[in-house]
Amino acid sequence: MTPLQLIIEREYLARVKKKSFILLTILMPFLFVGIALVPAFLSMVKDSGEKTIAVIDKTGLYTTELQSSQNYRFISVDPDSPLVSYMMKLDTDYFGILDISGDLSQEPKAVSFLSEKQPPLDLLSMIENRLSEKVKNQKLEGLAHSGSADSAAIAQVLAVIDSKSNNISVSTLRKDKEGEMKESSTIVASIVGGVFTFLIYMFIMAYGAMVMQAVVEEKKNRIVEVMVSTVRPVNLLVGKIIGVGLVGMTQLIIWGILIGGLMSVATVFTAAPVLPASGAEAMIGGADSFDPAQTIAILSGINWLEIILLFFVYFIGGYMMYASLFAAIGAAVDNDQDTQQFMMPITFIILFAFYAGLYSIQNPDGPLAFWCSLFPLSSPIVMMVRLPFGVPLWEKLLSLALLFAAFLLMAWLAAKIYRVGILMYGKKPTLKEMIRWIKYK
């Protein structure tokens, strides 16, 4: 084993074997799933107000399909009046407008939903279910009228029943304050983006700080001089960063597996008719509107492979870059208190990136999201928000190239500062002195 491998091994094992790590890694997913499920249950219970949805059905085919439920009332309105006249009444008379402009069995995209607020998932899934059912029937009827039901026709019927083209997906449109219409994301995409952004932010902060702590600890402990007499400081630095990073990855992967497992268990649990029909049904109101199968269908529409792959790539780049910075800080100071002053600007940048990410959820293609997903100090965090909505390839490549270039630069600078800093005790260095360290032989 080379010294670098030995250091990585030590850093990794020292952390992974800790009781606190094991506990946190195993317990957190349960907490996560708990937190995720409680609002889902609550959403089944609340929502007493009835929402009115205006249905503009230019074909006249679908109005009858949309039966009002406990929570939603569908009213058919005159399809010949201009759309704008209904939009005036949004949020006062109507919660939303369902605009069906053509025969959905021919043009599956001829339907859109307009609202001022983000439409609830259960409403969309209910509309989509009913329209899909109708389209399926339409197609089957069309087939029936085409001629006798020979074996070929039966095969066609089966194909129609299985076909995904029956699935009507309502594109949601949102009217913002300026009255401008923008196509809004589905909630799921936002949630997925938000979750990954938060994860990357949390891990960069937590594990970056862990690297810094480890450097300060080694310096305070005075073990560092023994170490650098055998290994090159840059190996010690890189070994530490990689070792701690692998700990982070281990935790992420275990969390991913556990949360995935728990979620599917929870989904099965909520989907099964656990509550006896009678009183309980009334209590939880539109329980049928929380359709886990539907959610899963939406979730499976997202390009998970790409997101997860890029998540790890951005995590590695972002973590290594910030960890290098944190390590340089740790090397420059003698004790934990002194780290505060140097950490401030970095914390500020990461927080900025985090908030930029949060705002980008609402506008994943706006200038803020665009520039922040290219700028290397914020790109790992902000890009995560944009990925579920689709990002052009060149932007991804440019963003990654910039990130890894920045990481190499930071690592180089950090190695220079680290090498000198770890052997300096006493006075806290000024920024000017740290810059001079970079020039030392």
Partner: protein, 305 residues
Amino acid sequence: MYYLQTKDIVKQYAAHRALDGVSIDVPKASVFGLLGPNGAGKTTLIRIITRITAPDSGCVILDGRTMDKNDVYKIGYLPEERGLYKKMKVGEHALFFARLRGMDRAQAQAEIDKWFQKFEMTDWYGKKVEELSKGMQQKVQFIATVIHNPDLLIFDEPFSGFDPVNSELLKTEILKLKAEGKTIILSTHNMESVESICDNITLINRSKAVLQGSVAEIRNSHKSGIFRLKLQADTFIPPADAPFVLLSSAPFGDGLDVRIRKNVDISPAELIRCVLQTTEILSFEEEMPSMNDIFIETVKTPLPV
């Protein structure tokens, strides 16, 4: 044959010149004392020898050739400021250091068992470092320094924190290493241990090597002609024209203990003759200057500009 030499090492830190043309010659299989007041540049020199930092100019020669980066495995360095990973187990820690210095696991394990037995600490093998006393930790550090059987050993203040028993144990081990043919550099402020184990020294003061040579030679050349005599007498009053000066006298048993400084132009034999004229002498010895005195005297002398 010198095992280690440094040639005109210069190291500048911003406005401060830490080393200014320092050359040392360390003979093979000897104990070499690196002395000097705090801040003189000893640690910087050691860091250059251990390749922790690079000199601005000058070079380090190991075993007859310029040192390269693989030579760090031939060095065992025990820094003055030393620590251990507190959460690691003692045995794992020693193993980690041994492997870091290029030993394979089995080989390292065998060496560790040997040293742990020698230092009577096999019971401590599975304990965490933070559970050890300071002296125990020092032992682990010492083992970590010598575990890979290096040819050059550098100990910076190795005795600090050790009780007299363990200090003695350490001294014995250092002399054993020397007998095995290892070269040892000892940086210390403990002048007594310099006298007892060092063969040669270099004294660094204000970034320069100001005094170099073998301990015996240096002590000889710093003799100041002071003699200690035990006399069979109640009082001792030297005659006015005596070729010596009486420094002190104190009663000792039924005799007198005196210190005198002879004039430079007479020999010790003449001094004895002179004293014998009036008093019986019970014992007579020349007072060798201690390394402590030499250290203080040298450091206090202003440098020639």
